[in-house]
Symmetry: C2
Subunit: 355 residues, 2 copies
């Protein structure tokens, strides 16, 4: 992989920022983008010079491989601003590593660290006014890569575009979340791309989620596709179950995303003296625990939502309401993790990286 | 679904055709496109007026859902020219129906028949000089739909673009094809999108196929993801096995594409007094048949390749060469089907549709 230096990045700033037109108190997630984006093309077997320029539409062939064969991957990250107006990233090395794992699984080229990490830092320096303080505010970061070669033949693209776009954010989910346990549809196959952050995985979820919505559930807890007996993910997040005072989450696999929030919560829970076991929970175990009262909490974990408490779950024709706890692990861990991310509490793990 | 009439199609023809620059004897599959394409956008809950205009790049948001969440489906069809210079489609109703089934599974809007079928016919009338006679020549047709709404939130797009592009073609595969039986990677999950012609399914195949290529195999025979014991598809095609004088092909399922060539070959084989059984063949049955000499042929079936004979297959560390037959079912059925498609033989099935 070639080595680029920051001086290689071409920078073309906009003349007028649109930041003053934005109401940062009333943002819906992922709809507003900052003034600039980073774009880096891969052609003739190598990465070109990255460019930071105005966020604007692409021009792309109707026959581009991304439209036909789905070579498209992404990451989700956030930047936070502390009380001293410094901007921080949370474990960017983890997202960078996972992005390149996704790239390999989809037969796409790996992105050099200088383009992904250093390019992101440079972009954030330029867009630092878009990172706001307090109240769960952050700047959501979306690195992604698409296949751009023309040609309707089912083989990997030769050309690719890597891009980073930024969107100011409040929080991802709101309101009470009820989930239904999947007993027919699935998000990932054994030996498939479920562990990659691949666009195609999400397209598989929308229709079953729509059916769930029609029955009053906001999300689906996905199960293993072969037997639908093991609990695996919740919507687009990893999932944790608290039975008595132990937290359970499934081990990562080819079907399950190796979530950065998931792994951080496991470490954080240990520090907080919460017993955590990385172990598949079976549907029948969950239902038994719901019935005997030992099931205390279920929550999703992901970059966008951080921690998303779940109010109850459905399975076939039954519905199980979860207790409303005064001292929930979900809210405790969310507060601790957010405090680390936003530098309110000391980061004893070395997870935060200053821009 | 609203009803459009042909008079609703906007037509903007190019001033100068590029057809005289094309060497129709030396085409690589899917790389050259005709002068025009059909484009129809879905906005505010309805399909706009379709437009036939110059094949040219799109302008699309970096945050378009297709890049991030993979809502993208397509079809593959062909137009043929007969000796009287009439242009024919093969079972377009089947592709149209399947396209809309794919749309439903990916939470995308169904495309009206007037846009898909009548729009395609109008486009082919304009591009009829691009359909050449003889030698397996055809005009490959690629209808597709992508999600165009801006926004990095994992929910279905509100806006979509349906498009038909055309590419003059000779034949899809060439040379000897050896396949390897999947014992780890998979293309589709139970309850997943394997039966949809979804872009995301293809992105999952490229990396395992690359690994197979490195071992000297051109394609993979996919097996069921849960047990890897049932033979399901070959590369991007359906697959047939001839054991003694019976042809076997797997029943369609949520994991297997309901191929138009597959279903046509089943009917054609019956007419030709070939015994056909729609039944899963197990890996162990295939290997036993290869060892005792009862396995005579394996071939792929799909629109691009029509019929693709396979020379041999690998499984784990073994390789099994297939016999070279004087009278193969594959070549007989390919000839018969191609003769129907190109109007060399009478179409007793009513499959061909004149433009």
């Amino acid at each position: 992989m070639e080595n680029k230096t920051l001086s290689d990045i071409k920078i073309n700033l906009v003349e007028h920022s649109k930041i003053n037109d934005i109401d940062f108190e009333n943002l819906s997630f992922g709809n507003v983008f900052t003034d600039h984006m980073l774009v880096c093309d891969y052609t003739n077997g190598e990465w070109n010079t990255p460019e930071i320029k105005a966020y604007a539409p692409f021009t792309i062939e109707p026959s581009a491989r991304v439209f036909h064969y789905g070579q498209a991957i992404f990451e989700g990250m956030k930047a936070y601003k502390d009380e001293q107006d410094d901007v921080w990233l949370f474990r960017p090395d983890q997202n960078y590593e996972r992005f390149n794992k996704s790239a390999v699984r989809l037969a796409m080229p790996e992105v050099p660290q200088d383009v992904f990490i250093d390019g992101l830092k440079k972009l954030l320096q330029i867009e630092k006014d878009w990172v706001k303080r307090g109240n769960g505010k952050s700047l959501y970061i979306r690195p992604f890569m698409i296949a751009t070669s023309s040609g309707v033949i089912a083989s990997p693209s030769l050309n690719y575009r890597f891009c980073i776009i930024l969107s100011p954010a409040k929080s991802y989910y709101s309101g009470e979340v009820k989930v239904v346990i999947a007993d027919h549809y699935s998000r990932a196959a054994n030996g498939g791309i479920g562990a990659a952050k691949a666009a195609g995985n999400y397209s598989a979820q929308f229709y079953p989620t729509k059916l769930a919505n029609e029955k009053g559930f906001q999300q689906i807890i996905w199960t293993d596709d072969a037997t639908h007996t093991k609990l695996e993910e919740a919507g687009t997040m990893n999932v944790f179950f608290r039975i008595n005072d132990t937290l359970y989450t499934a081990p990562t696999s080819e079907r399950i995303l190796d979530g950065v929030t998931r792994k951080s919560l496991i470490e954080l829970a240990k520090r907080e003296n919460i017993n955590v076991e990385v172990k598949s929970v079976l549907v029948e175990e969950l239902i038994a625990a719901a019935k005997d009262g030992s099931l205390k909490e279920i929550f999703g974990a992901g970059t966008a939502a951080v921690v998303n408490p779940i109010a109850g779950f459905g399975y076939k024709d039954e519905y199980f309401e979860l207790p409303k706890l005064e001292k929930s692990f979900a809210l405790h861990l969310k507060e601790k993790l957010t405090n680390i991310q936003t530098k309110v509490e000391p980061d004893t793990f070395g997870w935060t990286v200053k821009i």
